[in-house]
C-alpha cells in the first residue's frame, strides 16, 4: 500500500507507537473482556488498555490477573460465556501461556491476542525478534504480521472478522515487532467507530460451544482411547481444525478487501509483491523489516539489478500457493528471518518458503538470511548485502547458509 505524498491530519489522526495503535485497534473492536499482564515490550500496550477502560473510552471488563497463564484462561471462560476477548503478550509471557494457548484453537475460540514479538531467553534478552511467534507456529493459531503502526491498528478488527467467521472459528495472533513497531511512533488514522461496528457485524462467539445454564452442555468431554470411537472422534476434530485453517485463507482475503472498501486502506492480506513483475531475484521478508528491504530493492534497481520482494503478512495458515506463484519466475530467492529454526539450521520462514516452492516445476536456489535478533537493526545496507548474495546465487555460485546479517555488527 502506498500513501499520497502529503497527508492532511484529521480529527482521527494520531501520532502513536505500535502498542498504542494495537490498543486502539482493540478498543475499536469492542471486546467485552480484556485480560492484562505486563511483559517487555508489550507492557505499554496493556497500560493503554487499562487507561482506555479507566477513562471510559472502552467498555470492557478489565481483568488484571496474576500471570499470562491466567490471562488466556480467564479469556477462555469469558469467550465460552459469550464474550469477545482480547489480550496481548510476548516471549516469556507467551511461553508461560502455552498450556491454555495450545488449547485455544481446539476449543475453536475466536479470540484475538496481539503478539509483540521478541527474542526469548536464553541468552537473556528483552529486545525484538520473532522467535516467540515462530516457536508457536504449529499450535493452530492464525498469525498475521504487521509492517506499520497503521496496519497494526487496522489488522485487529480484521482479525476479529476472520476469527469469528463461521467457517474459521480460530484464534488469531496479530503480530507486531517488539521495539521497532511497539515503541516506534508514526501517524495512525483511527477508523471511525461506526465503520468498525458495521465491518464486524453482530457478535456471536460461542454458538458452537458455550457454558450457559440456559443451554447446558459439557465442553470438552473426555475422548476415549484405542479400541473404541475415541480416536476416530479425535481425528474428526483435528480435521475440523485443519479445515478451519484452510478456509481461513479465503476469509482473510475477503476480510482485508472488505476493510479496504470501508476505509480506503487495502492491505495485502496474504503476501505483498513489490517490484516482482520482471524480477530475476527476490527477497522474502516478514514484519517491520520490510520497509528497509523495499528501500534496498529500490537502490538495487537504480544499479540495474532486477530485484523484487515478497512480504508475508499471513504466516499461519501458510499461503503456500500464492507464494509459489509469486516466486515462480525468479532465478534465486533470499529469505530474511528474524528467528531461528534450530532443527534445520536456517530461518523458519525460509523453511516454509522452501517447502512451498516444491510445487513449482523449476527448482530455484534459496538462501537463508537471519537478522534482527535481540533487537538488532536490519538496515538497507544489510538488505543490500542480502540482495548481492542472492544475485550471486542466481548466477550459479553456491553459498553456505544461513547468513547471519548482524554477525559482525558493532
Amino acid at each position: 500500500m502506498s500513501a499520497p505524498a502529503t497527508l492532511k491530519a484529521t480529527s482521527r489522526t494520531m501520532v502513536i507507537d505500535g502498542n498504542e495503535a494495537a490498543a486502539w485497534g482493540a478498543a475499536l473492536s469492542r471486546p467485552d473482556v480484556v485480560a492484562v499482564y505486563p511483559i517487555t515490550p508489550q507492557s505499554s500496550l496493556v497500560e493503554y488498555l487499562a487507561k482506555f477502560i479507566a477513562e471510559g473510552k472502552m467498555d470492557a471488563e478489565l481483568m488484571d490477573v496474576e500471570g499470562e497463564h491466567s490471562v488466556l484462561s480467564v479469556l477462555h471462560g469469558a469467550c465460552l460465556a459469550g464474550g469477545r476477548t482480547y489480550s496481548a503478550t510476548s516471549a516469556q509471557g507467551l511461553a508461560y501461556m502455552f498450556e491454555p494457548y495450545f488449547r485455544t484453537p481446539g476449543l475453536r475460540l475466536p479470540m484475538v491476542v496481539s503478539l509483540v514479538t521478541r527474542d526469548s531467553v536464553t541468552p537473556c534478552c528483552v529486545w525484538g525478534g520473532q522467535q516467540d511467534a515462530m516457536t508457536v507456529k504449529e499450535v493452530g493459531w492464525i498469525q498475521m504480521y504487521c509492517e506499520t503502526q497503521q496496519e497494526i491498528c487496522d489488522s485487529i478488527p480484521i482479525a476479529y472478522k476472520v476469527a469469528e467467521h463461521a467457517d474459521v472459528m480460530l484464534p488469531v495472533n496479530v503480530c507486531h515487532d517488539g521495539n521497532y513497531l511497539s515503541y516506534g511512533v508514526a501517524r495512525v488514522d483511527l477508523p471511525e467507530q461506526e465503520v468498525v461496528d458495521a465491518f464486524l457485524g453482530e457478535k456471536n462467539v460461542n454458538w458452537h460451544a458455550c457454558l450457559d445454564p440456559e443451554r447446558p452442555m459439557a465442553v470438552d468431554p473426555l475422548t476415549g482411547g484405542a479400541g473404541g470411537i475415541g480416536p476416530s472422534t479425535f481425528v474428526r476434530y483435528r480435521k475440523g481444525q485443519c479445515a478451519g485453517m484452510a478456509a481461513a485463507l479465503d476469509v482473510i482475503v475477503a476480510a482485508h478487501e472488505d476493510w479496504g472498501r470501508r476505509t480506503g486502506r487495502y492491505w495485502s492480506p496474504l503476501i505483498e509483491d513489490y517490484r516482482m513483475e520482471d524480477a530475476e531475484v527476490a527477497l522474502v521478508t516478514i514484519g517491520s523489516m520490510t520497509g528497509a528491504a523495499k528501500d534496498a530493492v529500490d537502490d538495487a534497481r537504480l544499479d540495474g539489478r532486477k530485484v523484487g520482494l515478497v512480504k508475508i503478512k499471513t504466516f499461519r495458515p501458510f499461503p503456500a500457493k500464492v507464494i509459489a506463484k509469486a516466486l515462480s519466475k525468479v532465478k534465486a530467492v533470499g529469505v530474511v528471518d528474524r528467528a531461528v529454526n534450530f532443527g534445520w539450521n536456517c530461518g523458519p520462514v525460509f523453511q516454509e518458503v522452501l517447502a512451498a516452492l516444491y510445487a513449482n516445476p523449476t527448482r530455484v536456489p534459496l538462501i537463508s538470511f537471519i537478522g534482527g535478533l535481540a533487537g538488532a537493526d536490519i538496515t538497507p545496507e544489510h538488505f543490500g548485502r542480502a540482495i548481492a548474495d542472492t544475485v550471486r546465487v542466481a548466477a550459479g555460485e553456491t553459498m553456505s547458509s544461513p547468513i547471519w546479517l548482524n554477525e559482525f555488527d558493532q
Binding site: S2, L7, V15, G128, Y180, Y183, V185, A186, S288, M289
Partner: protein, 189 residues
C-alpha cells in the same frame, strides 16, 4: 528525508520529545517515523531517540546512523556519549548549554549550532531541569523545519504526567525565542 537524533538522560523526556515533534510534523502533513533506541531507560542514564521525516512515505523502520540534526537536551551527556557520531556534513547541532559557540569544541563539518540555556529556562518555568520541550523550540528556531504553532498543537494533544500544558507551551516558546544560532565559517556560504 531529514534525520534527527536526540540525546538526553533517562527521565528528561527525550523519547517524549521525539513523539511531540513527530506529532507536530504530522500536523504539517509530513510523514514521520520516530523510534527510541532500546535500552533500560533508568533515570539519569544516557538515552537516545531517533526521528526521521519526509514529504514522501517513509518505509524503513530502522535506527538513524547519519543524522542531519542532533538535539542534545542535556548539557553534560556529551561527556559520556559521542553526540556527533555519524553526523552528516553540513549538519546542525541543537544543544542545551550555557556556553557560547566560541567556547565549544565542535567538529569541523558542522554547518550550524543552535545553543540554548535550556536548564536556566527550565528552572525558571518548572523549578526542575526538564528541558525536552524547550529544546523542541530550539530545534524549530534552528532549522525552520517545524512551526512553533504546530509544536504547540502537538503539546496540546500530549498527556503530561509531571508538568502542566501551560508551562510546556511557555517552555517551547522560550526555547524558540532564546536560542542563539551560529553559522560556522566553513559552511557559512
Amino acid at each position: 528525508m531529514h534525520e534527527v537524533r536526540i540525546h538526553g538522560r533517562g527521565g528528561q523526556g527525550a523519547v517524549m520529545a521525539s513523539g511531540i515533534l513527530a506529532a507536530a510534523l504530522v500536523g504539517e502533513g509530513r510523514h514521520v517515523m520516530a523510534i527510541p533506541a532500546f535500552g533500560f531507560e533508568r533515570r539519569g542514564a544516557p538515552v537516545v531517540a531517533f526521528l526521521r521525516f519526509d514529504d514522501r512515505e517513509i518505509r524503513r523502520v530502522t535506527n538513524i546512523y547519519a543524522p542531519d540534526t542532533v538535539i542534545v537536551i542535556d548539557p553534560t551527556v556529551a561527556r559520556s556519549v559521542d553526540v556527533f557520531a555519524g553526523m552528516k556534513p553540513g549538519g546542525t547541532l541543537v544543544q542545551s548549554t550555557k556556553k557560547a559557540a566560541a567556547d565549544m569544541v565542535l567538529p569541523s563539518h558542522l554547518a550550524r549550532v543552535a545553543l540554548c540555556d535550556a536548564v536556566g529556562i527550565a528552572m525558571a518555568i518548572f523549578k526542575r531541569p526538564i528541558t525536552n520541550t524547550i529544546m523542541l523550540g530550539a530545534f524549530a528556531r534552528a532549522t525552520g523545519l517545524v512551526g512553533i504553532d504546530s509544536l504547540v498543537a502537538a503539546l496540546e494533544a500530549t498527556d503530561f504526567r509531571d508538568a502542566g500544558l501551560k508551562q510546556n507551551i511557555e517552555a517551547v516558546r522560550r526555547g524558540f525565542d532564546e536560542t542563539i544560532i551560529t553559522q560556522l565559517a566553513a559552511h557559512a556560504a
